[in-house]
Amino acid sequence: MQNNLKSIERKLGYTFSFPILFLVFIIIGFPSIYTFILSFTNKRIGYPYHFIGIKNYVDIFKNPVYWRVLSNTIIYTFVCIIIKLMLGFAFALLLNENFKGRGFVRVAMLVPWAIPGMVAAHTWRWMYNDQYGIINAILRNIGLIDNPIPWLSDMKLALIAVIIVNIWRGIPFFLFSILGGLQTIDSQLYDAAKVDGAGIVSRFLNVTVPSIAPVLTITTLLSTIWTFNDFDNIWLITGGGPLNASSVISTFTYETAFISNQMGRALAVAISIIPILIGLMFVANKLLSREDK
């Protein structure tokens, strides 16, 4: 009798899950499989395509531009996440204290997050302009520089320029996620730590950080994935230039697909980073599982 009930429950479960699984397959599964297949063809929009084996993958792995772009992506992601985490944490600690005007400051800190991406990108692009941008104007007026800095057309500065914008836009996400976590910490834990003679640093490392570790993990993981896949910020400010100096995987894929009209090759580029993203998921899953225990 009990086995029959379990069997019926199992069948009902599958029956009710089927529509959503079907939908997920149509929206995500089928396009992913089709993308994978097309990456082995010489697909160009407007022309018939043919299977060419692993030629696309061989070509991209032999292309120094691909490795440049991949290294840019890793540098971009790593630097942005580290700085956003540090600054977001610092601001969260600050905004967790009581001070006059705290409410106003909290709202003001939301602005970079709230501004539409396109507006922010165009504004920063104008600010970075070497002839009439405000950044160079201020730096020249205070005597820090004699000649304007070509923020967006220097091979070394272009990537730094877009990193700054990503950090500016991404801090609020870390700030408010961590702030939410900080506000759930029981103050008695700090009292107990003080009684035991723990200093500020010790209380931070042994009470604060462990208490909000799950929040830190999930926030960092989500932000890492978003930053790794960042497109509009870079495309609108530098277009990935000059000469791929600020190009990342997403902009390189877009350029290969729609500017050079080499869709098969572009899909091969996109597929090539899946192992990296799976690795990230694996690490995150491990960390989160450890937290659950």
Binding site: I45, G46, Y47, N129, D130, Q131, Y132, N147, P148, P150, L152, S153, D154, M155, T238, G239, G241, P242, L243, A245, Y254, A257, F258, I259, S260, N261, M263
Partner: protein
């Protein structure tokens, strides 16, 4: 109570489904989708939309008019072609349109070319090897704009050759006071200005990117001299540092702001200065392109119409394109463009507007340029090589990465061959 609310909601959903279906039956009109180019002179898009709306009303069809910036068109169009849902009509640059002709996506426009009296110069900019697929809407003859006051201050004659331009630019250049003698864009932004300028200099130095048989012939001593010449305009700080990444708007903006002394552009700048900065226009002279040892080559293109085979309304698309060239409408539109456009049809220049010396100068210039792909035949792959801005990227390699010019030229030759499948 819950049952009653559920029944009411269910009836509402069913009713709305049937109502929507009924509405779709009632509006069974044909539809015409037009992706128009976003122009510098706003009057164009206003008049174009008005004309389109009138055409749709007269023919009892639903019209969808969309304005697309030139830098965004290729990506959007490729996505729509891949999705099997391209627009019926587009307006784009001539070199861009030639790529789609080779994809066999375009409708034959033989009936338009036979019905409308196009000039020889207009037919030259739309020629492709596999038939008539592109209709010339207007010619955009370029010229050199120069701050004559800056040259006169230094007692210099206005330059007529590239060498004269370089030598006088060195004298006029004043970066410490935020004034650069030259404002040539060299960004790989997808526009045509930078690539056209490179090819114009290469041709005037005696180099030939692709010959009349479609063979890549770019790797020559003449082209090497041209590349070195272009690169030194940036490495010697004669152009603003950011010019190496400017898109097609960069030089317009810089000239209008008074921060550069020379640009090369179509009448768009002239129109803009007439309206917004007549004082600057008074200090400007508009001259022909400088010449080199092989002469002067003025890359002349224009805006063109294309109609897509897989669009919903092929017949209407063709009829709309024909209607665009109705004499009264077209003549009026040309005058609103303030000399930025030159006509592609005969019989519309016998009026006071074109008798004005400045406008007649633009008109004359439009008859003597070479198309952007000159001297190569106009195929989709050769148009693609222009669109990919290969010469621009070679210059960027020399200026930004300090690549040896000969190595950059060798790489450029290989890039051309890869794109053309040679």
């Amino acid at each position: 109570m819950k049952r009653i609310i559920s029944i009411i909601l269910g009836l509402a959903i069913v009713t709305s489904i049937f109502a929507n279906g009924a509405q779709e039956q009632n509006t069974n009109k044909k539809k015409l989708v037009f992706w128009d180019k976003s122009e510098y002179v706003q009057d164009y898009n206003v008049l174009s939309k008005q004309h389109f709306d009138e055409f749709c009303a007269e023919n009892n069809i639903d019209g969808e008019y969309v304005i697309i910036p030139p830098n965004d068109l290729k990506q959007k169009l490729l996505a729509s072609i891949e999705g099997g849902n391209p627009p019926d009509i587009i307006v784009t640059d001539d070199f861009s349109a030639k790529q789609y002709a080779g994809m066999e996506q375009l409708l034959s426009v033989d009936s338009v070319m036979n019905a409308v009296p196009f000039t020889t110069a207009a037919k030259n900019i739309v020629q492709v090897t596999n038939g008539n697929f592109i209709v010339p809407m207007c010619i955009l003859a370029p010229a050199m704009y120069i701050r004559a006051d800056k040259w006169e201050e230094k007692g210099l004659d206005l330059p007529t050759t590239w060498d004269e331009l370089y030598e006088t630019a060195k004298v006029v250049n004043d970066p410490e006071n935020d004034f650069y003698a030259l404002g040539y864009p060299m960004g790989a932004s997808g526009g045509g200005d930078a690539e056209a300028m490179c090819r114009s200099i290469i041709l005037s130095f005696g180099g030939v990117p692709i010959d009349e048989n479609g063979v890549v012939t770019i790797n020559s001593a003449e082209t090497l001299s041209a590349l070195k010449f272009i690169a030194k305009l940036y490495t010697e700080n004669l152009c603003p540092p950011s010019a190496i990444t400017w898109d097609d708007m960069g030089n317009n903006t810089a000239y209008g702001a008074g921060s550069v002394g020379v640009i090369q552009n179509s009448g768009s700048v002239f129109s803009q200065l007439q309206k917004e900065n007549p004082e600057l226009l008074a200090k400007t002279r508009i001259l022909s392109y400088p010449s080199g040892v092989a002469g002067a080559f003025i890359p002349t293109g224009g805006n063109v119409f294309c109609a897509f085979k897989n669009g919903e309304s092929n017949d209407l698309a063709i009829e709309y394109i024909k209607s665009f060239f109705e004499k009264d409408f077209y003549e009026n539109l040309l005058t609103k463009m303030l000399g930025m456009w030159q006509p592609t049809i005969t019989g519309v220049t016998d009026n006071d507007f074109w008798k004005d010396p400045i406008n007649s100068g633009w008109l004359e210039s439009s008859k003597h340029g070479v198309n952007n792909l000159y001297p190569a035949p106009s195929t989709d792959l050769i148009a693609n090589a222009f669109s990919e801005q290969l010469c621009v990227k070679a210059i960027q390699q020399i200026v930004l990465n300090n690549v040896d010019p000969q190595i950059a030229l060798d790489n450029l030759e290989q890039s051309f061959k890869d794109t053309l499948g040679q």
